[in-house]
Symmetry: C3
Subunit: 458 residues, 3 copies
């Protein structure tokens, strides 16, 4: 119990000091390195002899905005299903994603867009930074409610770097295709978060179990997240692809895949329940698996039928995962997965990677015509066969899993540093630890929290 | 009471089996018939000699996304005003619309885009399928809370077919203009649903009346739906029109019409109340009537003044409908209209059809210039006069009403098939029948439901 | 107590009569003056020899839709944080903004787009009208909960006119740049509202203090507003700029500025609280200050680093304002600022104007190249120096403050006209005065309201 006032002061300062430090460092690095790219800079753009209509803004900005909504509204509210953790779900999403956008601009910039000493930012860097923020929020879903914002900022610092390196290895070194990020975003984000959660395992989490469920209106708030994610997922997968037919095809495939995962989720959710009633957890999450599973293959000639099959399988696997695998994950593997990211992003992400390898291996000059140059440039230039592309895709999945597991475990060890402040086992999933909660709510909550207070300083 | 366990098992399996069956059939039909169209297929697009900027994606995808938000977020949350039916409102919207997108791709494809044995899908088919889903959800509004998801899937199966045929008759056979669907979407969807509701009339619905109202926060959730519908309606009406001035004009007219229906709804809502207080039901619904009423005419030279007048009238008629006509509809016509779709989509839809006929009849070469080819191609090519176009428009309304009444009545009879499971009169508007509801809420609800359980198996 | 029934009848009729009167007058003015512009009119557009792809719709409509969401969803739900004023927050936003769109079309049209006796409307007029509606809603934030819809319609009538004149003076007469409206929208809207609130000062507002806070779920509804505002703010600032690099640069700068204001808001919110806990009021509001502060300068060559610094400062100033300045504003200056618009729009708006002047003063031909013609046309044409542009910018701020203070004060006096109906001091922040509230909620509220009823008629 000694040091309790000091600890309180420490907790008070950890978050603000980290925010200020991180912001200070990124600002300095921005000053030194970050410059407008050719399409953003007044002088550079006007040097060229092009119409304003050629600016990438008009081709990608609407898709970017949809992605931006998904990251901040979609993920934020999807995680607000917890009955007493809505402020934290939406608020920490907001904080971590905002930091990830800055930090990822730097990391991805150094790796992808570093020319003559400068990082050049524009439309694409905005989309890519949002993608990285998406991965960070997927990881957050695994540890949600069990860590505070300061440790989460540390985890984000690390994850953004590893995300950038993994993405660089896949896209640049291995020549892997992964527009919608089945591997780079979903698989990486999920297993990074699960590894984190494994290292931070809490044997006594049972003490907060009563707060781990939803209430009626928190489930409706979560559906706001779900529906916006579902509606805009075609934009997510198509935002970074080549222009023209490819963006349209990616959007179309994703659109069909999601309809199928929705139908299979409703079917399976009713089937696996005792009395045929639907489970909101499944609808909120597994219905989205159709977007994850075509993250790699939706830019390819998947065919609308292929998209339906993929979505159907993903919704099925994901719903079964929530019902049967999540409990095992905790009891056998000591992985506590608050939002079930293993079911929504992990398994469907791996499935998506395998599907991408399959569809890549089936690519022919006949099916893609001159469009092969956009989808599989190395195959079009005869630098590799379709089969070789498929093997590279599989290797990309392996690399991603390695980065995620090793990175997440390292991250977990980092987050065990003694000075970082955590909620006690009985204070998990509780906004009041980090937020001034309006009285009405505080009244109800005050008593159990006071009783268990010593727990915090244990 | 005999057979109650069998019935329970039957209920348990109806929804999942239907989902699996419907998904299986559409998937097989997709495999046989559905192919990427010219703008979506890698090989076909790259055969042509066009810039990627010409791809229809860049002209219609942002509008499509707005429509997509309206269908899933807008309609879903608009219907979440019921105090204990939020899961079902948002969830069944999700399920039915997802299925309608697949099924309508096939039905509309066979009718509109069937070439050399294949249905060609792309940007336009995505928009059209969403439009059909919109009609399905309008019909849902009439029977909301009184049917289960399995009967609703059957109704959707039928409605999508009839929607497609009616749309084909109007747009292809009769040469009627109806971009935003005053007739094909709103009038058809509303009267199909009302006919359904008539056949499924429940004389004892009074038993669930206490659950038919809203609570404070459910009204705010509904406003999320309202505002997104209102904000994106200009995209709804303009999504399928000819490119250029026509999309802009349609959006602009809809924008003004909606402002006027908002003002008249506030005025009338206060006027017709006993004490001058506003009624959330009016604001949530009637304020949107301005979008419905210009569904046919907003692509025409309606003029901004015409848009204001149309919107004003629609808001007025709709608010008065909620206040005075909905009770009569139930007491005299035995039509129980949960969301008042007759006021929001039925009457404003008919008004919109009449307005469309009027504005079409006034069309001159002078007013439209060379733009006449886009708006009234048959008039521009001198195949019919403006007056003849107006008569065709009126006949289109008549055809739509026939399809809706006859189809909805048939649908109602289909839904009376004895094996389909329904909530009892005392269990309407109650999520717990179909959803695992979080405890907090269940506690309150458990008792009255248990007491009346026999009712279900009657 | 005399005249109480008459007063009640008066209250009953004020709102509907004003709505009908205002709608009637704008409709007549629309009939006389408003016409489609060249890009919207069928005949005019088809006269020209241009591709449909050149229509402004394709360059600005997606940005317009984002702005439209911000105005109706963003502002509406941001103000729904009050525990018992959600209907009014969302509903009055809806009403006032709808009227402002019509009225501003006329006012801005007379000033900016009046040619040969007609106002020409199209893509730009839609964006500009939404901007004006934004300013109206900022002012609403200052007086929220303390006035009724009828007085607010009067205030809107006046504010739209003054907004239009101030904007005309700045943009047309002074040649000031202010794309995202740090001055014309945020500074003007905030100080107009604060002046209003000053004149309408209520010394006994303490009586409603218990309703001025939030409850748990009302804070989550408010976060819907916050996040949509945050996500779409890049579209807000870039919607009206020159095409090409300028739209992209404006969006990019705003995007970075907002990430920085989010980080500084979280840091400062934790720092200034007694126990290190975060305050939802800060997160909901101050995190948005990064969008306000670059309203003027984001179209300029601010650099990404500059955007971060600006956002960081704005978030800091805004959070400190909520903590320390809002109480002083009430106690010393007798300004009751319900939503703290002084902190979110007032101070960051002024800061944004100063930053705009600074960045304008630093403009060189080298930094902007031929793009100087788009950003600072008068400097490019050598009609004024960069320093002179900076001085004009500063003078624009001064003019704006004058218009806002004088206009808001006049508006306050107008709203003190005796026939206008107001809630009593003990009935502020209460939906039941203006709305039929569902019973569940009414039950709790009925008693205190009845007891204090005489207060109303005092």
């Amino acid at each position: 119990m000694a040091g309790s006032p000091r600890r309180a002061a420490g907790r008070r300062l950890q978050l603000p000091l980290l925010c200020l430090l991180f912001q200070g460092v990124t600002a300095i690095l921005f000053a030194i390195f970050v410059r407008y790219n050719h399409e953003t800079d007044a002088a550079l753009w006007h040097q060229g002899n092009h119409s304003n209509a050629d600016n990438e803004f008009y081709f990608r900005y609407p898709s970017f905005q949809d992605v931006h909504v998904m990251v901040f509204v979609g993920f934020g509210f999807l995680m607000a299903f917890l009955q007493r953790y809505g402020f934290s779900s939406v608020g920490f999403t907001f904080l971590l994603a905002a930091f990830a956008l800055q930090w990822s601009t730097l990391v991805q910039g150094f790796l992808h867009a570093f020319h003559s000493g400068h990082i050049h930012v524009g439309m694409e860097s905005m989309i890519n930074a949002d993608f990285c923020a998406g991965a960070v929020l997927i990881s957050l879903g695994a540890v949600l409610g069990k860590t505070g914002p300061a440790p989460l900022l540390f985890a984000t610092l690390l994850e953004v770097v590893l995300f950038g390196i993994n993405e660089f290895v896949l896209l640049r070194v291995l020549g892997v295709k992964d527009a919608g990020g089945s591997m780079t975003i979903h698989t990486f984000g999920a297993y990074f978060g699960l590894a984190l959660s494994r290292v931070l395992y809490r044997p006594q989490l049972e003490k907060s179990r009563h707060r781990q469920g939803s209430v009626y209106h928190s489930d409706l708030f979560a559906m706001i997240g779900t529906i916006f994610l579902w509606v805009f997922w075609p934009s997510f997968n198509s935002a970074p692809t080549a222009l023209g037919d490819e963006q349209l095809r990616t959007a179309l495939n994703t659109y069909y895949s999601l309809t199928a995962s929705t139908l299979s989720t409703f079917a399976l959710s009713a089937l696996v329940s005792r009395d045929g009633r639907l489970d909101m957890v499944h609808i909120q999450n597994a219905a989205l698996a159709g977007g994850v599973v075509v993250g790699t293959s939706s830019e390819m000639m998947l065919t609308p039928f292929g998209a339906l099959v993929a979505g159907f399988l993903a919704g099925t696997v994901s719903t079964l995962g929530y019902k049967f695998f999540t409990p095992i994950l905790e009891s056998k593997f000591k992985v506590q997965d608050t939002c079930g990211v293993h079911n929504l992003h992990g398994m469907p992400g791996i499935l998506g990677a395998l599907l991408g390898a399959l569809v890549a291996g089936l690519a022919t000059h006949e099916a893609y015509g001159d469009g092969l140059r956009d989808v599989f440039p190395l195959v079009a230039e005869a630098q590799r066969s379709a089969t070789s592309q498929a093997v590279h895709q599989l290797f990309g999945l392996f690399v991603t899993l390695m980065f995620a597991f090793v990175g997440g475990s390292l991250g977990g060890l980092l987050l065990k540093l003694p000075f970082l402040d955590y909620p006690s086992d009985s204070q998990c999933y509780e906004d009041q630890i980090y937020w001034e909660v309006p009285e009405e709510h505080e009244d109800k909550a005050q008593e159990p929290l006071r009783v268990e207070e010593p727990d915090t300083q244990a």
